[in-house]
């Protein structure tokens, strides 16, 4: 089964066809989504009516391109804002978590570590509703007893950020811890010997070493936030981020403008993926 052990050519033929089928299976949905963004028809389906870019650039008519669809454009801006805030918070807290788990030992550490991993196995929908229930209870309490209206604890953008932060932080912590574990402590000691304070040593030696992991964690968290649906869907108010807006359009019956936006999303993800991979390679 490994190269040094030969199998019959029949075996290899079957195996290789299986792999080809597997990769076709992986690629098929993405290819059709992209292809129909350029079909000059009102529906993302056959027959092929010819090539067009109107689902991107058309300003008026029944085909309004993505760059002129104000509703979708607003939802993209909203998703970006959510993703940026979530990324900043998650990366920062993940960084402190990584230092805590890699550098200190204290009673209850392994218990806290298990707790820290839990968000990975809580379904996103549940994480969403539990935060919804809790924040509403807190908001009701403040309203009933203190007559303070905490608007940000009601379904809306702040709650979406909070919900996404709750599980993205775990993933970022794992990414940053993995690199911090490989750090050679003697480098930090050298900085201390040369007269640096511990804080200076961390900022001038350790953090630059962590940079690839920090950027990797930031990219992953940006994408996860931007593309998240389950948790977001439970916590949105009246403003719809991109995934929710797309989902609602999809239920109404889709036009190829959704394909066009999918193409943009794929391009965006590809760029971020390439940046991430090259960062990890250099590291």
């Amino acid at each position: 089964m490994i190269p040094s052990i030969k199998q019959t050519s029949f075996f290899y033929r079957i195996y290789h066809s299986y792999l080809v089928l597997f990769f076709l299976f992986l690629a098929a949905p993405l290819v059709v989504v992209a292809a129909f963004a350029f079909n000059d028809s009102l529906f993302p389906s056959f027959p092929w009516e010819g090539f067009t870019l109107s689902w991107f650039f058309s300003e008026t008519g029944e085909k309004i391109g993505i760059f002129f669809d104000s509703e979708l454009l607003e939802s993209i801006a909203l998703s970006s804002a959510i993703a940026i805030v979530t990324t900043l918070c998650a990366t920062l807290v993940a960084c402190t978590n990584a230092f805590l788990f890699e550098r200190y030992s204290f009673p209850g550490k392994s218990f806290l570590y298990v707790l820290m991993l839990l968000p990975l196995v809580i379904p996103g929908v549940l994480l969403g509703v539990s935060i919804l229930v809790f924040s509403s209870s807190v908001a009701n309490y403040f309203e009933d007893y203190w007559f303070i209206d905490l608007e940000f604890l009601r379904p809306g953008l702040t709650l979406v950020v909070i919900g996404q932060f709750a599980f993205i932080t775990t993933i970022c912590t794992l990414i940053i811890s993995a690199r911090l574990r490989k750090f050679d402590l003697s480098l930090e000691e050298a900085a201390l010997n040369l007269g640096a304070t511990p804080i200076m040593a961390v900022f001038t030696v350790t953090l630059p070493y962590l940079k690839p992991a920090l950027i990797g964690a930031a990219i992953v968290s940006f994408l996860m936030s931007f593309e998240n649906f389950n948790t977001t869907f439970m916590l949105v108010g009246s403003d719809a981020p991109l995934t929710v807006a797309m989902y609602e359009r999809l239920r109404e019956g889709s036009t190829p403008v959704l394909n066009a936006i999918s193409v943009l999303l794929m391009l965006g993800s590809a760029v971020l993926a390439i940046i991430n991979m090259s960062m990890q390679k250099k590291a």
Binding site: M1, F22, P29, S130, L258, L265
Partner: protein, 292 residues
């Protein structure tokens, strides 16, 4: 640990201070966003909105109404089936990437497995809708080939949901499998053959035991993702998809029956914890090792 040139007691108290400063955000995050919300969910599910006090009526409702517990059971069984299918489909691919090729082509194939998952789940599901619906690509292809007279609706069946679940979770099976298989030394496999083993023996006695940690962590993640999936059953399964997360959504958002929704949430949490615990117990793995 950071040790400065100042006095020992001074540096120790600084270490203590640093630890507390790092401990604070972690504890706030876990307490406010994970632990308390789930406790609140539990207390909601047990509270009586009309009279106050405790009640089990929302759990009773779950067992009395066949639609609810059947949906629950169906979600669990289909998730287990999806996990098994994903494992069977992913294993040969992971084995090929980890053991049968080297160098550049290995990196490229591995990246090809990763790429689709950088794209939003919504986009991937949309792709399957374009492929499978009555006016979709496969249906058109069948008509063009003369295999069908009119449009064939391939959406809205259990098989479609299964396909979507397997597709959306594939990566999370391939990655742990590749990383455990990568660490298996070829010489063990060669030794197995030298000792007269056949393909089947080697697979059962060398490869699968070695890959068990990867199989367990892949299965746990895939199972959780399937159980908690919302988009795939709703979009590919249509109105009759009967997925439990859909029930939770309906209770919370459509019917505004938060107590019932909370009870459903707790039941789903119990089910997932139970199955993960069983999986770890049976295979003798630890949670921390498997997930971290």
């Amino acid at each position: 640990m950071l040790v400065s040139s100042s006095t020992a007691s001074g540096s120790r108290s600084r270490i203590k201070l640093g630890m507390w400063l790092l401990l604070a955000p972690l504890c706030l995050w876990l307490l406010l966003l994970i632990i308390l919300p789930h406790i609140e969910l539990l207390s909601f599910s047990l509270s009586d909105p009309d009279e106050g006090g405790l009640t089990l009526s929302f759990y009773g409702e779950f067992f009395n109404e066949p639609l609810y517990w059947r949906t629950f059971l169906r979600t669990a069984i289909m998730s287990i089936l999806a996990t098994a299918l994903t494992l069977v489909i992913a294993f040969p691919v992971a084995f090929f990437i980890a053991k049968m090729i080297k160098g550049r082509s290995k990196g490229i194939l591995f990246a090809m497995c990763l790429i689709p998952f950088w794209v939003s789940e919504l986009v991937r599901t949309f792709g399957w809708m374009i492929l499978l619906r009555e006016s979709g690509v496969i249906s058109s292809g069948l008509q063009w080939l003369g295999l069908a007279d009119s449009g064939v609706e391939l959406l809205y069946t259990d098989a479609t949901i299964m396909l979507g679940l397997v597709y959306s979770a594939m990566l999370f099976m391939v990655v742990p499998l590749v990383s455990t298989l990568d660490s298996l030394d070829d010489s063990y496999i060669e030794a197995g053959y030298d000792l007269g083993g056949n393909n089947w023996n080697i697979m059962r006695e060398i490869i699968i035991p070695h890959a068990t940690p990867g199989i367990v962590s892949g299965c746990i993640i895939v199972f959780m993702l399937s159980l908690g999936n919302y988009l795939t059953p709703v979009l590919l399964g249509g109105k009759d998809s009967l997925w439990f997360t859909e029930q939770i959504y309906t209770q919370f958002i459509t019917r505004f029956n938060w107590e019932q929704g909370s009870a459903f949430g707790i039941l789903l949490l119990l089910l997932s914890s139970l199955i993960v615990w069983l999986g770890l117990k049976v295979t003798g793995q630890s949670f921390t090792k498997t997930m971290g």
